[in-house]
């Protein structure tokens, strides 16, 4: 198949390689207004690993994932999930948006939010059964929030809200977990609970992609990194791609050399 697909910078968009890659992005460009937020980015996520997406503020980290999952429209680019178009793989993806992107005053309880994760299973008009509720409760248990099932979501702390979002993703029973800044503004206990769950998912063979902002924890939490600053800067294992050079390329003058030396291997 040789369709002349050309990305924004004139280079031909190739078929996403690595047929079994959980998430393969080619030539993705996203623009809010005139300036592109993400420009002609290629990304191939390695299966069964935890990948951090790293870059300075406004570098397009969240936008890259949102566009790849169809949350925001892309100008150009192709995305394949486990080797197929995303529309046919919705059931294999669980997405955790930024906590601040929703109104936590919404009239709903914790358990109802987790049950949203079962939408594809329950369907438009299917009846919620006891086993669905049990399933949702088990997911809450995994993130240590079982006792909060009947609380209104606005009564939770930021960290607790983040854990409820993770429980909803668990309820989806996906193979690819995409999380947008799950550690932003959460307490230490929540951070530990979340990373434990993510590592458990990896142990089950699931793939985890996380937009991450804390450079100090990258090496401890993740297998792979993807550095972006509107364009892709580097991609690979932490040892290969998370170096003083790549960090300097991604952050420019925004990180002092001493800071870079501290976090990069």
């Amino acid at each position: 198949m040789d369709i002349a697909l050309v990305s924004r910078d004139g280079k031909k968009i190739t078929e996403p390689g690595g047929q079994d890659s959980p998430l393969a992005i080619r030539g993705l460009t996203v623009s809010y207004g005139e300036k592109p937020a993400v420009f002609s980015v290629d990304m191939t996520v390695e299966a069964g690993k935890m990948t951090a997406i790293i870059g300075p503020n406004g570098a397009g980290k969240s936008t890259l994932l949102k566009a790849a999952l169809g949350v925001v429209p892309a100008v150009s680019g192709r995305v394949q999930v486990f080797g197929k178009p995303i529309a046919r793989q919705r059931g294999r993806i669980a997405y955790v948006p930024q906590r601040a992107s929703v109104d936590w005053d919404f009239p709903t309880r914790v358990i109802d939010v987790v049950l949203m994760g079962l939408y594809r299973e329950v369907g438009l008009l299917g009846r919620l059964r006891g086993r669905h509720v049990k399933q949702a409760e088990a997911c809450l248990d995994r993130v240590g929030m079982k006792d909060f099932a009947h609380r209104q979501i606005g009564q939770l702390s930021g960290g607790q809200q983040q854990r409820v979002f993770l429980a909803r993703a668990l309820a989806q029973g996906a193979d690819l977990y995409v999380l947008d800044e799950p550690f932003a503004g959460v307490d230490a206990a929540t951070e530990k609970a979340i990373i434990d769950v993510l590592k458990a998912l990896r142990a089950e063979g699931k793939t985890v992609v996380v937009v991450h902002h804390d450079l100090a924890t990258v090496a401890g939490y993740f297998d792979n990194v993807f550095l972006i600053n509107t364009r892709k800067v580097a991609e690979g294992t932490v040892a290969e791609a998370f170096t003083a050079d790549t960090l300097h390329d991604a952050y420019g003058g925004r990180l002092a050399t001493a800071q870079i030396a501290q976090v990069a291997g």
């Binding site: 919705r90 997405y95 906590r99 601040a100 109104d103 009239p107 939010v113 606005g154 503004g185």
Partner: protein, 308 residues
């Protein structure tokens, strides 16, 4: 018993109640999506469209009215975009200008045209004509089973009843996607839900309810019912389904209590004339909102999330 109530009070009561519920139901979702003023906007913008539709067809009937209102809505959207771009002002200001201008234009059109043959005048646009929607063929409760009498029901009654049925059907069918996409649109999209189409459908359903209700009960009730019962209901509960149930109860209470108070209230305090039922229904809904704002169990914003 019934020989006066059925022909004179039952039809306006039912029309008022159906209109109130038809507007309050989508109002719940509009409120949670921070689009509560869409009801307000629709009822302002629809007026010139309805008047023009009347001028062209010479009668008040459902389809021309709906098409006229829809046409006026499209013109408004274009005008808002033009003003926003050319004037480089924020969309809220552009909307404010267009909505009031459209409504004022509708009022002027009404005054300049001869609509005396039908119940379409400035007052009607605001208050509707609830009190005049009587059923003269009815002689008592038995008439509800009398086909000949039923055929002469005010046409507004079946019209608003069918509209209400459509609104209920839409919400029942799309309850889950609506709830999910109202709470978390990004997540809803990753589930494969078509959130843009769903949001548009909600606004269209609200617009149909507004135009159908507008004809019978005027714009005051429409504006009040989109906001007051859902807002009051939100303060009674922290669950979406329960909130919608409360909003229906409050809408019904406003309609019935407002109608009765408008008819008999002035007599009780020694005045002789009844007051506008539409005005009273809207007022009652406002009072309910005020009461729930003071005494409702869930009126406080739940504790702000720690560490945002």
């Amino acid at each position: 018993m019934g020989s006066e109530f059925v022909p004179l009070s039952l039809p306006p009561l039912l029309i008022g109640a159906f209109a109130a519920v038809a507007c309050a139901l989508p109002g719940n979702f509009l409120l949670l999506r921070r689009q509560a003023l869409i009801g307000d906007a629709i009822s302002h913008v629809a007026l010139p469209g309805i008047v023009v539709a009347f001028l062209i067809t010479g009668a008040i009937s459902t389809w021309p009215m709906m098409i006229g209102a829809a046409g006026a809505a499209v013109i408004s959207v274009v005008l808002i975009e033009v003003i926003r771009r050319l004037g480089r002002i924020e969309p809220g200001a552009a909307m404010g200008v267009v909505f009031t201008a459209m409504f004022a234009g509708g009022v002027l059109l009404l005054e300049q045209t001869d609509t005396s043959s039908v119940h379409l005048d400035v007052e009607h646009a605001l208050y509707g004509n609830l009190e005049s929607l009587i059923w003269l063929d009815a002689t008592g409760w038995g008439s509800l089973l009398d086909w000949d009498a039923l055929r002469h029901l005010p046409p507004e009654l079946p019209r608003i009843a069918v509209t209400l049925l459509g609104v209920v059907l839409f919400l029942w069918l799309f309850w889950r996607p609506l709830a999910i996409s109202t709470f978390d649109e990004g997540f809803a999209r990753t589930l494969g839900l078509r959130t843009t189409a769903l949001g548009l459908a909600l606004v269209v359903v609200a617009a149909i309810a507004a135009v159908a209700a507008f004809d019978a009960v005027g714009s005051i009730i429409v504006i009040a019912m989109f906001i007051c019962p859902p807002a009051a209901a939100r303060m009674m509960t922290n669950r979406l389904g329960v909130q919608v149930a409360w909003s229906v109860a409050f809408a019904l209470l406003s309609a019935v209590l407002g109608y009765v108070l408008a008819g008999y209230g002035p007599l009780w305090i020694g005045m002789y004339d009844a007051v506008s039922a539409a005005g009273m229904i809207a007022t009652v809904s406002g009072v309910i909102l005020a009461l729930t704002a003071v005494f409702g169990p869930c009126r406080h914003r739940a504790g702000a999330p720690a560490g945002v």
